[in-house]
């Protein structure tokens, strides 16, 4: 059974159709990349999946449940976590504090007015594991807003992971990064996918990253699906090439 199913999702802004009857289904453990030229509606599509706003029409199912009208926080509770194209973190808190908030919320403690020693020890341990996984341990006590861009990105992904998601949505994880940083993030995503069998959907512009990571690729253009398949199939698809090269030229 598919973990995520999108059926004919459409989103209009006034007369503009940003996402036009897009369907997609993602299997558990799959890494799906969504590619497409600028303005293809990729981020809008992501916003529909994560509940940033509802679709004008169509349905979204997450592990068999209709989540089309659910709030983002409910979807997070069901195991959906995301990052943003422009990094969204708590800039004036330290990396450790950023992760602490995420871990506490994930542990169902968000409304708790106190913390017992036992729970606190578990939370600390989890924070250290996440810091270590992201290679952030040496910088854990610096304000996250003052860290380099790549580390901010990593911190954001780690916060999403702190939620123990079943589906991780990454909106252009390598945007604005240098080669080394891109390499590190790609390795991190690969590790998450291979070692933890985490289901991941990501939007990405860097084709090296996409072809290196993805199990399947969905191509969007002008709000609609242009093609879908394995990296090899997509690389050979003439319509996709035309759309990309046409735009590029």
């Amino acid at each position: 059974m598919s973990l995520l199913v999108v059926e004919n999702a459409t989103r209009r802004f006034g007369s503009l159709v940003a996402v036009d009857a897009v369907s997609m289904s993602v299997a558990p453990g799959e890494l799906r990349a969504i590619i497409g030229p600028n303005g293809a509606g990729k981020t809008t599509f992501f916003n529909l999946i994560s509940g940033f706003f509802p679709p004008t029409s169509g349905r979204i199912l997450f592990s068999g449940t209709d989540v089309t009208r659910l709030s983002p926080e409910r979807r997070v509770g069901m195991g959906m976590a995301r990052t943003f194209q422009i990094t969204e973190i708590f800039p004036e808190l330290t990396a450790r504090e950023n992760l602490r908030i995420a871990v506490e919320v994930a542990s169902g403690l968000r409304r708790s007015p106190w913390l017992r020693g036992h729970a606190n020890a578990q939370i600390r341990e989890r924070i250290e594991v996440l810091l270590d996984m992201g290679g952030l341990t040496p910088k854990a006590d610096r304000l996250v807003g003052e860290l380099p861009h790549g580390d901010q990105r990593t911190a954001e992904i780690m916060m999403a992971l702190a939620l123990k998601p079943r589906l991780l949505l990454l909106d252009e994880p390598t945007a604005g990064m240098g080669d080394q940083e891109t390499h590190d993030i790609t390795q991190l995503i690969r590790k998450l996918h291979k070692d933890q069998q985490l289901t991941i959907v990501l939007i990405e512009h860097d084709m090296r990253v996409v072809f290196h990571l993805a199990d399947r690729i969905t191509v969007l253009a002008e709000g609609a699906v242009l093609g879908e398949g394995t990296p090899n199939e997509i690389a050979r698809d003439e319509r996709v090439q035309a759309a990309y090269l046409g735009k590029a030229a």
């Binding site: 943003f84 969204e88 708590f90 919320v105 106190w114």
Partner: protein, 316 residues
């Protein structure tokens, strides 16, 4: 410059608060002034729970302050001559109103939230002002006095002994402030910081932002109405000015003046404001201009507040 640890600052503040009635006179003040600093300091710190630690701009906190004051005054005058009961009823009234109004406004943000809180604040002002037969209208609730505190074993005279009353206020202050401090250090408190820092991220971590803003609003108003009850007890009187818009503005400027990002800042802001108002209003008729000018100067030159500046210089 060496950093002074936070514990030392906290200790110093408590030391000052505990000894204040004994040296106020020596520096030209009086015990009632010290009490007023405590009461308005509590109000400003309560507001700052929402303003500084949740990042939500309320400009109508006087309404809940005033509801607390009226609740206490009318309970003691009409129902039972008991100081604790008055406080209880006052706090319950303010909190209840905050629960209802908070539910209406938790979806709004920024300037709009501020504007709606200002407007709602006026509702209670008009009720107090217009409903003459019950609230005494413009004259307020008079003809009652705070009652002695009956502890079973001993009776504490709060009315004649102004030092005893100061310590009574300090006890209430200590309880309220400790509760707020604990809340801010809890997982719940950290979700509020998260909302202040980045609402979108908080939401996509699974925090139901509206519900937490509502909770923060209600908690903040609960403590501000406690301050309101103490204010009525301090004056043995309350009138519609306790819940008018200018009072709300005063709370905000106290918080800003002291430093919104620090826990104790608003208390320091309140102390400066209260002493200044006391001094200016006894020396000139045009004290409104001075207070107004003071607002302008604080905004233009001290937007980070006293503690914000100290912190930047590495002293706090």
């Amino acid at each position: 410059m060496k950093r002074v640890p936070a514990v030392a600052w906290t200790g110093l503040i408590w030391l000052v608060l505990l000894t204040m009635p004994y040296w106020m006179r020596a520096v030209g003040g009086y015990t009632e002034l010290a009490s007023r600093v405590l009461v308005l300091g509590l109000a400003a710190m309560s507001l700052n729970f929402l303003l500084g630690f949740t990042g939500v701009l309320s400009f109508g906190h006087a309404a809940y302050f005033g509801l607390g004051a009226y609740g206490a005054a009318m309970t003691i005058k009409y129902i039972a001559p008991s100081t604790p009961l008055g406080i209880l009823v006052g706090v319950a009234t303010g909190t209840l109103a905050a629960m209802v109004i908070g539910a209406l406004i938790a979806r709004l943000r920024g300037v709009y939230f501020a504007m709606v809180t200002i407007a709602f604040g006026q509702v209670f002002y008009f009720i107090a002002f217009r409903w003459n037969s019950v609230t005494g209208g413009d004259d307020g609730v008079t003809g009652w006095k705070r009652q002695a505190l009956d502890l079973g074993l001993a009776k504490i005279d709060l009315l004649g002994n102004d030092k005893a009353f100061y310590y009574f206020i300090l006890a209430c202050f200590a309880i309220a402030v400790t509760l707020m401090w604990l809340l801010l250090r809890s997982p719940f408190g950290r979700t509020l910081l998260a909302i202040r820092e980045n609402e979108r991220r908080a939401r996509f971590l699974g925090v139901p932002v509206e519900r937490h803003i509502w909770l923060s609003f209600v908690i903040s108003c609960c403590f501000v109405s406690l301050a309101g009850t103490l204010y009525a007890l301090l004056n043995n009187f309350t009138d519609p000015r306790a819940l008018r818009w200018d009072q709300s503005g005063n709370f905000v400027i106290m918080a800003v003046l002291g430093g919104m990002r620090s826990f104790w800042g608003p208390l320091i802001g309140a102390a400066i404001f209260v002493v200044l108002q006391d001094y200016v209003s006894s020396h000139t008729e045009n004290w409104m201009s001075f207070i107004g000018l003071f607002f302008v100067l604080v905004v233009l030159f001290f937007p980070r507040g006293v503690l914000g500046i100290l912190r930047r210089k590495g002293m706090a």
